[in-house]
């Protein structure tokens, strides 16, 4: 009982805080940007009062409550600049981005994270690059995988058990043929997966095999523009349907890290292809360089 009450309240109040921060930047962005550019000259003590800049709050249960509510100094300016830069480009409504908007945002993200991102790769692109993300369930990784075998630690189990296991397989079936054959890469591909509407790509039906192979575990950088959190995810499922009002879905771990929620609290993310032909970039959370 406590976990569900705690989680419900925590999710709701974190989402409220994010909306407040977003509105602050929309209404007072010029002043906040000025503060971001000058805070090093202005601060005298802790950075507690300046949490307005990043909107950063503790994501999960704190081990040291005070420290957990204060942003780390080295990350403050980088995330602040990112949020500020994105706020100046992103439209107020969550709609498909214009080509120039996409390019400007890709430039910012590539510079911030040191990862080359692009809305189009090998002549292929998704139907959009900015949209609402919904919550997906865990995917079955190999025959026999279930909630009891799915988590590496008790902590993960506590955090992610209740999201449940999807009844069907992902778009590319199992991640590995058996538990014994399962590698860390297979685990990460499920842990950090996103579902995108591959079927809405241009000429999808006539180029099915080409798209199927291209999208399989394709890496994308997914960014919450309201808090600057970013994660390298991979495409492992197709969806959601257009009728849901959501443009992509995230695994429980992706949603948790990005601090995004489903239902009435849903929020947008940016998502762009990562050009990583040599498979050198790890899946999982990334921080500004």
């Amino acid at each position: 009982m406590t976990q569900s009450h705690y989680k419900s309240l925590s999710d709701r109040w974190r989402a409220r805080h994010q909306n407040l921060t977003k509105n602050l930047w929309i209404k007072h962005g010029e002043s906040l940007e000025w503060l971001a550019n000058n805070y090093r000259q202005l601060i005298s003590g802790s950075l507690g009062g300046l949490m307005i800049l990043t909107g950063q709050i503790s994501n999960t249960l704190p081990s040291a409550p005070i420290a957990a509510t204060q942003p780390a100094i080295p990350n403050l300016d980088k995330k602040t600049f990112l949020i500020s830069d994105l706020a100046q480009i992103l439209p107020k409504d969550v709609r498909p981005l214009e080509a120039e908007e996409e390019q400007n945002i890709c430039d910012i993200l590539s510079r911030t994270y040191g990862i080359k991102v692009t809305p189009e790769l090998e002549g292929k692109r998704l139907n959009r690059s900015y949209g609402f993300i919904g919550a997906e369930q865990h995917l079955i990784r190999y025959p026999g995988d279930n909630l009891s075998s799915h988590f590496d630690s008790d902590e993960d189990s506590e955090l992610y058990w209740q999201q449940g296991m999807a009844p069907g397989l992902g778009a590319w079936s199992y991640f590995s043929p058996s538990k014994e054959a399962s590698t860390q890469k297979d685990k990460d591909r499920e842990k950090y997966y996103i579902a995108v509407p591959t079927f809405l790509s241009k000429d999808f039906n006539s180029r099915f095999a080409e798209y199927r192979d291209f999208y399989k575990y394709r890496k994308m950088l997914v960014v919450n523009p309201n808090n600057g959190r970013a994660i390298v995810a991979d495409i492992a499922d197709a969806g959601p349907a257009e009728s849901t009002g959501k443009q992509l879905g995230g695994s429980p771990e992706v949603m948790h890290y990005l601090e995004r929620f489903d239902g009435s609290l849903k929020g947008p993310v940016l998502y762009f292809f990562i050009n990583d032909p040599d498979d050198k970039i790890n899946l999982g959370p990334v921080t500004p360089i």
Partner: protein
Amino acid sequence: MKKKYFYSHIIDTSTLSLELNEMDLTSIERLHLISLVESNIHQEIINLILSELSLPDKKIFLAHLASENHDKIWEFLNSKINDAEEKIKKTVEDLKSELHKDIKEIKS
């Protein structure tokens, strides 16, 4: 002891703390929820104040906020905003009502 924020002495979140105390939460969970209450209050207050100020005055306020000189902050606010303290109190009370409502909904 210096208060955490310049407004700490005029707001009271004990009703929320008490209500959380009555819930079946661990102490860590309760602390985390209280920190979220504080964060939400902070953003609401900053939004209120910035919405009442001109662009040059916003920067002055933010500079005072960054310096954590509470006396200067209040001196400035009282010179720029009518009934600043009352407006802050009302904003916080409105937010507290919403947070209490959230708790009630989740418990029901």
